[in-house]
Subunit: 132 residues, 2 copies
């Protein structure tokens, strides 16, 4: 990603709610939606500067670099903003699985049928990676 | 979509915040992310029953059927939920453009370069459709 980024121009266009904006993460190759997370201004800045996805953890109340523990980082190739400026779309190259439960995508459950159905195979063992 | 849906089982798994859950809408064919919106329990129910996407409008504080004014409805083929149950992914067949500004996708602006760049062509005139 370019480092010539005019951060203040971008931030002016964004509509933060409680200092956060929702971010959808999409695999740039397969186009699968991998996860949804939240970003504050600092995590957007860190993402742009480093080229690696950073988010705001609402539960831990701090910035986290995606993959800091698992190594499953996200190289950010593109960031798009929506018409209202209240959502971001990150197009990334995902290393390993995005989901802390061991799946490639966090959206591994389909609820369109009469019950919840798992539609993906686990690609890593979360116990081994996160020690849970 | 199946009508045998066990709604209460699904809802138990979902984590609503202020009675809402974030929903990402993806084109089932192109896999483009079209928009992000919010759903409450009733809009999920209406979506499942009708097969057409319904959302909760935070500004108008009411349920709206996507395309009720523009005719640009979304036939919902699949609904997925994420690992934490706090986000939904709707895979839809989009009629016309999803964006009220006339674009196919709401994410028509790229902010990865040194300024905000429009990356799509308008496919309809919003003034003609919404009379704005």
């Amino acid at each position: 990603m370019s480092r010539k980024f005019n951060f203040s121009e971008i931030v002016e266009e964004l509509q933060f709610q409680n200092n956060l904006i929702v971010a959808v993460v999409q695999d740039i190759k397969s186009k699968d939606v991998l996860m949804v997370a939240y970003m504050n201004k600092d995590s957007i800045k860190k993402t742009i500067k480093s080229g690696k996805a950073h988010f705001w953890s609402r539960s831990r109340e701090k910035i986290w670099k995606k993959g800091e523990k698992s190594g499953n980082t996200q190289n950010v190739h593109e960031i798009c903003m929506d018409c209202d400026g209240d959502a971001l779309l990150l197009k990334v190259e995902q290393k390993g699985g995005a989901c802390h439960k061991g799946y490639r995508s966090c959206f591994y459950r389909n609820i369109s049928e009469d019950k919840i159905k798992i539609t993906e195979e686990r690609i890593f063992n979360p116990k081994k990676v996160y020690g849970e």
